[in-house]
Symmetry: C2
Amino acid sequence: MTAIKSSSTIQQNKKTALAMCPVTFTMEKIGSYWKPIIIYHLSEGSKRYSELKKAIPAVTEKMLIQHLKQLETDGLVIREARPVVPPYVTYQLSESGRQLLPVIHAMATWATAHM
Amino acid sequence: MTAIKSSSTIQQNKKTALAMCPVTFTMEKIGSYWKPIIIYHLSEGSKRYSELKKAIPAVTEKMLIQHLKQLETDGLVIREARPVVPPYVTYQLSESGRQLLPVIHAMATWATAHM
DNA sequence: ACAAGTACTTACCCTAAAGTATGTATCATT
DNA sequence: AATGATACATACTTTAGGGTAAGTACTTGT
């Protein structure tokens, strides 16, 4: 987890933008270019960590778990770990995560119309 | 305009993500946290540069024109300059820019439901 | 002569996000 | 005893985005 300097101007601007702009709030949650991809793949249903890795070959492991953790703490995905060896961990969209799908879908339709 | 290193892995990953994921394509166009705000303010209609500046006090001039230029070259906004002094420049959403409004709206509704 | 207004432009710096590489724990299998 | 599989963790480096500050052009008003 990267440490953030809450005193920096960037963070201050983000704060005010967040307070005033709901769109920016959503961007905060899904605004990296890996997160929408992860969410998209989870829209098909629950997936193991290794399945996600296979489904998204370009992502590095660091990025993958980093974003999965963020999505989890943001309440968008649910992590389930079975206490077995080797580990068996699955990720699935939460309710608010699923409610993001219209957003994802709206973006996808716009993109396909304008690529 | 910041020079970008097209050889970097980041850019390579973006390319493959763009080719495969329409959502990422949309993110490329509106994925900074100023762009959605700018688009939102232009959704009310054509605005002068100085009006946008007043409407979004936190944005610096550099960021504002930088993103306006990008939005223009991406075909999302239309710039009109009247050849007068002092300059009179207006910005408005293009057709594809207006078609983004459902996306913005979807994000806003999700945000207000989950803040 | 000089300030003011408008729409930029440019040079420089700082930070957060992303990438690279390597390491860890646990048990089953060979 | 070594290897493989799984799901991470962590130290270090690079890069793109954003911020700061200052300057430009052109004309009108004082």
